[in-house]
């Protein structure tokens, strides 16, 4: 089983520095890419069907193809979204701490494909180690001439800057990220226009997730067919799957896209800890719907998870066990989402704190049956299209599925006027 993304990541050894990275074939994809026409790289990535690994799952090559390629268009930007703040998600951290040059190489190729000359890594504030390693790697790449200087016969050159955020979840939303990078309030933007047309400072811009970009060198080196063959499913490539919660060996693994859920939980995460039973899991981070026992057999690819009523999201699973109160679990999540609402649109700004307060009050034994009705209304009224961005609809996914699968737990809180787990 090939693990292109993590093959050179060893948790017990420091990240590869430039020479080591080059020795194992690093930057060969870049050299190859520079011999290709930008358009051909975009086509290749599109054909490889590399879906965005940040959660939305949009075809990356197609996203690039919307960038205007008129040579007179002026400044364009390529941005790596490394603001990994989805609760339960830690996959990009592994990639950046484990092999920063892989990301840089992916970024240079992506930037070349869209002919952007300036790029940024927008890094989560808390990722101090990644920041240090990326800074070193960027400096090495500048010294080696991969950045900051015209490369080869193409004359193409790229500048890369590391930008560390201040720790706001909304900055993971690509347009809020752009505003934050411009020094504005981190509120999302109304689309269209999409960033490909008017992005950073109003210029054509591509924002890609770290994991997405890390795949790019491998696609360039090995071709679309190889990439598709990595997968067990209709979705191409491998995926970093993570598991957290009360499993025996929580962690992160690079597996073929479409690995079955029970296989991930049992073979890789080691099954539930002794004395704990599986009750459900959020398959792709905090803003995805619960999957429960009946779903254990499904394959973890975009389509299969969607047909089970959830989303693959970031592919990092949070497991709920039988000794943890689901109401408290969801309350914790809604507290996070309410706090991380940017305050731009009314439903999210006012609706999320309301759900959080209700959940708190149910958890404290002060809830009423009418509260469940209000919560259910919120799961509908905070749905996609009604709010400005996907934050509140995402926040409603664990809540709506908890109300569906764990309703008796909510009701027992209300009838017993206390949390049965406390």
């Amino acid at each position: 089983m090939e693990k292109p993304l993590t093959q050179y990541i060893n948790p017990n050894r420091p990240a590869l520095h430039l020479k080591e990275y080059e020795r194992v074939g690093g930057y060969s994809a870049l050299r190859k890419a520079l011999t290709m026409a930008p358009k051909d790289i975009t086509n290749m990535v599109q054909e490889a069907d590399l879906k965005g690994r940040g959660g939305a799952g949009f075809n990356t090559g197609m996203k690039w193809s919307f960038v205007p390629m008129d040579p007179d268009i002026g400044t364009k930007y390529l941005i790596a979204n490394a603001d990994e703040m989805e609760p339960g998600t830690f996959k990009d951290r592994l990639l950046m701490e484990g092999n920063p040059h892989q990301l840089i190489e992916g970024m240079i190729i992506a930037a070349y494909a869209i002919q952007a000359n300036v790029s940024f890594i927008f890094l989560r504030w808390a990722y101090k180690k990644a920041a240090r390693l990326l800074e070193q790697a960027i400096a090495e790449a500048y010294d080696a001439g991969y950045l900051g200087r015209p490369m080869g016969s193409t004359g193409y050159q790229l500048h890369l800057h590391l930008h560390t955020g201040v720790g706001r979840y909304i900055c993971g939303e690509e347009t809020a990220l752009l505003n934050a990078l411009e020094g504005k309030r981190a509120t999302p933007r109304l689309k269209p226009p999409f960033p490909q047309i008017s992005g950073l400072f109003g210029r054509p811009t591509i924002v890609n997730n770290v994991e997405t970009l890390c795949n790019v060198p491998h696609i360039v080196n090995n071709g679309p067919d190889w990439f598709k063959a990595l997968s067990n499913s209709g979705d191409a490539g491998t995926k970093l799957y993570g598991v957290s919660g009360r499993v025996k060996t929580p962690g992160i693994w690079e597996l073929p896209l479409g690995t079955p859920m029970d296989q991930l939980l049992e073979d890789h995460a080691g099954g539930m800890q002794d004395g704990y039973r599986f009750r459900g899991a959020l398959p792709g981070g905090a803003s995805t719907d619960f999957l429960v026992t009946e779903h254990l057999k499904i394959n973890l690819d975009y389509k299969s998870v969607a047909s089970a009523g959830s989303r693959l999201g970031t592919g990092t699973m949070v497991v709920l066990d039988d000794r943890t109160c689901p109401v408290g679990f969801v309350h914790n999540l809604e507290h996070f989402f309410a706090q991380e609402s940017c305050g731009w649109c009314s439903p999210c700004r006012e609706g999320l704190p309301w759900t959080e307060k209700i959940l708190r009050s149910i958890e404290d034994g002060r809830g009423t049956i009418q509260d469940l009705e209000i919560l259910e209304q919120h799961t509908i009224q905070l749905g996609p299209g009604r709010t400005f961005c996907a934050l509140a609809p995402g926040a409603m996914e664990p809540l709506q599925s908890a109300l569906k699968y764990f309703r008796e737990d909510f009701e027992s809180h209300i009838s017993q006027k206390k949390c049965p787990w406390r």
Binding site: G343, C345, S346, Q377, G385
Partner: protein
């Protein structure tokens, strides 16, 4: 055009609009908060949810926000859809979770957009069981009151204040349900347009602080359409009264003039009307006189003396003409200095020539290049500065065409163009707020600025487009002017410089010779400067001279403090030489102090009148209320009575004002046709009520005096009734006393008065513009002498400076300066020189000095104005005590004795 289908009804609508404005224009009741016709769409509040369908067979549809959804041909949508409607109601419930239940004590109550929208969606009962979040409020200065707990976070305030008006000190802070709209630190709002926050805010976060001191609900106000008296632009306002005092000024929309916004001088300048030093009774030689005795006294005076009349640029055409009629045209003088009269005369000759177009503010907003020569519009015509701020976006916005970003998509437009600005060139002696937008600024002596203008005209004449030589700055600007499609030149009288005017004219004419039609906007000193100048009268200098020669024994001064226009010592001598002086004015002021007879004159709120603005537009303000004190009468009425007394008739109190305007038109051909500027009749054969139908307390408000309701005041002179009686409907725009429509109690009922939301008002008659008529009507041959050159101090002695008059929004205009709030904002009299001059004289900023100008000495505080040329000092124009200075002027520093 596109055909759309709303709830099964089909409509032909305009392309390029969003669905919210389209639905509102079609009369649908669709609630909204963050969208504003002048600020466009951002999609933040999520209130205008509707459902759109893929096609006519689609029954599920999807919820979208109407304000960010474009019109497209064949679109099916539903406003009434139960899901959309439930979401709108839910959205209000969310907003209400933190909105206090303080409507009863909130200044916005009864004119609150949030109240209206809440009722519209049907949300009534509270389900939210938890504490509301609270905020601390800030002191924002004397104009705007802050009450953050009421905020529904629609972001309109910052979008207006920062994005639209260029303010820097109001912002949004924090996040999630704690977002806070205010200043980083408490303090006076710096923008000259801060008062608009009260109208832009859909609820009671930002309210009018001056109204707060004498609060009245909108429904309890007696209101009339009015015209701002505080600069030459003639912004349309609504003035409201209760219990005999003027309570507030709000914006009255005029699509070609002020649009949705006013400046703070215009909004808050009204306080002089309620000032404690209002003249309340006729006074003859220190004795209050009334009734028959007054008439006998006046009759004696009028028949026994040789009278002259002094008009006023801040009095109406009617009042000025009534005075002219009383004293005779040969004895009627403009109440301004010769230099001001000459400047105006020259401007009228320019406008009269019909060569160059005088633009409206709406046209200024459309300009694609602006050149400001010798003015700082932020201070001399503030509302124009707001228009110029929009104009500089026009060129960058042209680039959005290729991106398909629609015109209503505010955030995307601003994002796309970033900080790029269209060409704006500013030439003014000191730095100005608009400088931050300028492509080029020149700060220098007015004659240097004028020389720059003449050079530019020359460069335009040389046709820089065909010139192969090395480009220079001048040629670049000339080229930009020639390339612009709608170039605009702004100039005016602020610097009291003929050379500035001539230079601006030369540029416009040079462009015309290159077949380029530029607009030229003149900023004038006062609200009726153009109207008065059109009356062909001599200035004060001529009056002084002829007073000595012709044995004049009496002067009648109309609504004018001559000490604002003329040297105090000479005026003292002049007044001393007279036997009697009759002064008609609102307030006690230096000229009334010289009067032997003072007659209390009604303010703009207490009578009607007509003004001519800086573009020649003729507009009327209408009486709001009848002063309870019968001694306060309109000047035109006093003067007409005096005329009747003089010719031996019994004074007739109900002499209507309209015939005065007709007489004016008949006696001075340049005013021909002036009466047609506004309808003189009401609606449906009835009067238009000044009071809304919810006006309360009518039978009780005077019950402490007598329980029977007194007979209401009758208005025989205007199309209005003073009460609730009459025909409401939609009066023609010049006669709209307030905006109200069922379900729309706030100012946003304006939507219902427009043909299309955000566009022209319905039912507007043709307006009258004196400048536009000018080229067809022979202009009087009398020509003001034009000073071709000004004295410039060539060799500044160590202590003598040439003085430059710097106009200030607060303080430089007389009447607004009497207001409580505005007087707090006026600058203390200063003396500004550059750093080198200051260090040469060892003067530190903040030090008090004495400056001698002419024969007078003034105590002033030193300021540094780094851009000022050597040998020049800036002083605030017409802020007491620096009034009546003879321009051009120089000042000498007097060593202070310790």
């Amino acid at each position: 055009m596109a055909q759309i289908h709303i709830d099964k009804e089909s409509y032909d609508v305009k392309n390029g609009k969003n669905l919210l404005e389209t639905c509102l224009s079609l009369g649908y009741q669709l609630p909204y908060f963050c969208w504003h016709p002048a600020l466009n769409s951002v999609g933040a509040c999520r209130q205008c949810a509707i459902k759109v369908f893929k096609d006519e067979k689609d029954t599920r549809g999807r919820i979208v926000m109407a304000c960010v959804e474009p019109v497209s041909d064949g679109l099916h949508l539903s406003v009434a859809d139960p899901e959309a409607s439930a979401f709108r109601s839910q959205n209000i419930e969310w907003l209400m979770t933190n909105h206090p239940h303080d409507c009863a004590v909130c200044d916005e109550g009864g004119s609150c957009h949030l109240q209206d929208m809440t009722v519209m969606t049907g949300h009534a009962y509270r389900r939210f069981q938890y504490p509301k979040r609270t905020h601390h409020n800030q002191y924002l200065g004397p104009l705007v009151h802050h009450e953050m707990n009421r905020c529904i976070q629609c972001y309109r305030c910052v979008r207006f204040y920062k994005d639209y008006a260029g303010g820097k000190d109001l912002d949004v802070f924090a996040a999630h349900d704690h977002v806070y709209f205010g200043r980083a630190k408490e303090g006076i709002l710096e923008s000259e347009f801060s008062g608009n926050l009260a109208e832009v805010c859909p609820t009671g976060v930002f309210t009018d602080k001056t109204l707060h001191t004498h609060y009245t609900r909108k429904w309890d106000l007696t209101m009339a359409p009015s015209v701002c008296q505080h600069c030459s632009l003639g912004c349309n306002i609504i003035a409201g009264e209760r219990y005999g005092s003027l309570r507030s000024i709000t914006n009255r929309y005029h699509e070609a003039v002020n649009g949705y916004f006013l400046c703070d001088r215009g909004r808050y300048g009204y306080e002089f009307v309620n000032h404690p030093s209002r003249i309340q009774h006729p006074n003859v030689r220190g004795r209050q006189v009334s009734g028959k005795e007054l008439y006998t006294t006046l009759q004696d005076l009028l028949t026994s003396k040789n009278w002259i009349g002094v008009g006023s640029p801040r009095a109406s055409l009617e009042a000025n003409f009534a005075l002219r009629k009383l004293v005779g045209d040969q004895n009627f003088y403009q109440g301004v200095s010769k230099v001001e009269a000459d400047l105006l005369q020259r401007i009228l000759h320019m406008t009269h020539s019909g060569q160059i177009h005088q633009p409206s503010l709406q046209e200024i907003e459309q300009a694609d290049l602006v050149l400001i020569l010798g003015e700082d519009p932020t201070h001399s015509a503030p509302r124009m500065a707001l228009s110029i701020r929009q104009a500089v976006r026009n060129i960058p916005l042209q680039q959005t065409a290729s991106t398909h970003i629609p015109a209503w998509h505010d955030v995307a437009q601003r994002e796309y163009i970033q900080d790029t600005k269209g060409p704006l060139y500013i030439a003014y002696p000191v730095a100005s707020k608009l400088d931050e937008l300028a492509s080029y600024t020149l700060h220098d002596h007015p004659d240097v600025l004028a020389a720059f203008g003449f050079d530019l005209a020359q460069a335009i004449g040389d046709d820089p487009l065909g010139d192969q030589n090395e480009p220079t700055l001048l040629r670049n600007i000339a080229e930009a002017l020639l390339k612009a499609e709608r170039p605009l030149i702004v100039t005016g009288t602020s610097l009291i410089s003929h050379n500035i005017l001539e230079a601006a004219w030369a540029i416009a004419m040079a462009l015309k010779h290159q077949n380029k039609n530029a607009s030229l906007s003149f900023i004038l000193p006062s609200c009726n400067s153009a109207g008065l100048a059109y009356m062909e009268a001599e200035p004060l200098e001529v009056l002084m001279k002829s007073a000595k020669q012709n044995g004049i024994s009496g002067a009648i001064v109309l609504e004018n403090d001559l000490y604002r226009h003329y040297d105090a010592l000479e005026l003292d001598q002049f007044f001393e030489s007279l036997e009697d002086i009759i002064v008609l004015d609102h307030l006690e002021q230096p000229t009334t102090a010289q009067a032997t007879v003072t007659l209390p004159a009604a303010t703009f709120a207490e009578t009607s009148g007509t003004l001519v603005n800086n573009e020649g537009r003729v507009q009327s303000f209408y009486q709001v209320y009848m002063p309870k004190n019968e001694d306060i009468r309109p000047s035109w009425q006093w003067l007409t009575e005096l005329y009747q007394i003089k010719i031996g008739l019994t004074p007739d109190l109900l002499y209507p004002s309209t015939p005065l305007l007709e007489e004016l038109a008949a006696s001075l051909p340049q005013f021909a046709g002036i009466g047609a500027h506004a309808p003189t009749f009401g609606l449906n054969g009835q009067k238009i009520p000044r009071e809304p139908h919810r006006y309360s307390g009518r039978t009780a408000m005077l019950a402490h005096i007598a329980v029977s309701e007194p007979r209401p005041d009758q208005d025989e002179l205007s199309p209005f009734s003073f009460t609730m009686e009459g025909s409401r409907g939609f009066p023609p725009p010049p006669l709209t006393p307030y905006y109200w429509s069922p379900g729309w109690n706030s100012n946003q009922a304006l939507n219902k008065y427009q043909i299309e939301v955000g566009g022209a008002l319905a039912g507007r008659h043709a307006e009258v513009n004196l400048f536009a008529m000018a080229s067809t009507i022979p202009y009087p041959t009398k020509k003001g002498g034009v000073n071709q050159s000004q004295s410039v101090i060539q060799n500044a002695t160590t202590h003598t400076f040439e003085l430059l008059p710097i106009t200030h929004i607060f303080g430089s205009e007389e009447l607004s300066g009497y207001g409580d709030a505005i007087s707090k904002l006026a600058p203390a009299p200063y003396f500004a020189i550059n750093k080198q001059e200051a260090s040469r004289l060892s003067l530190q900023p903040g030090v008090d000095i004495h400056l001698r100008i002419g024969k007078q000495t003034y105590p002033l505080t030193v300021q540094i104005g780094q851009e000022l040329p050597a040998g020049c000092a800036a002083i605030p124009y017409n802020i007491p005590p620096l009034t009546g200075i003879t321009w051009p002027a120089q000042g000498t520093l007097i060593p202070t004795t310790p």
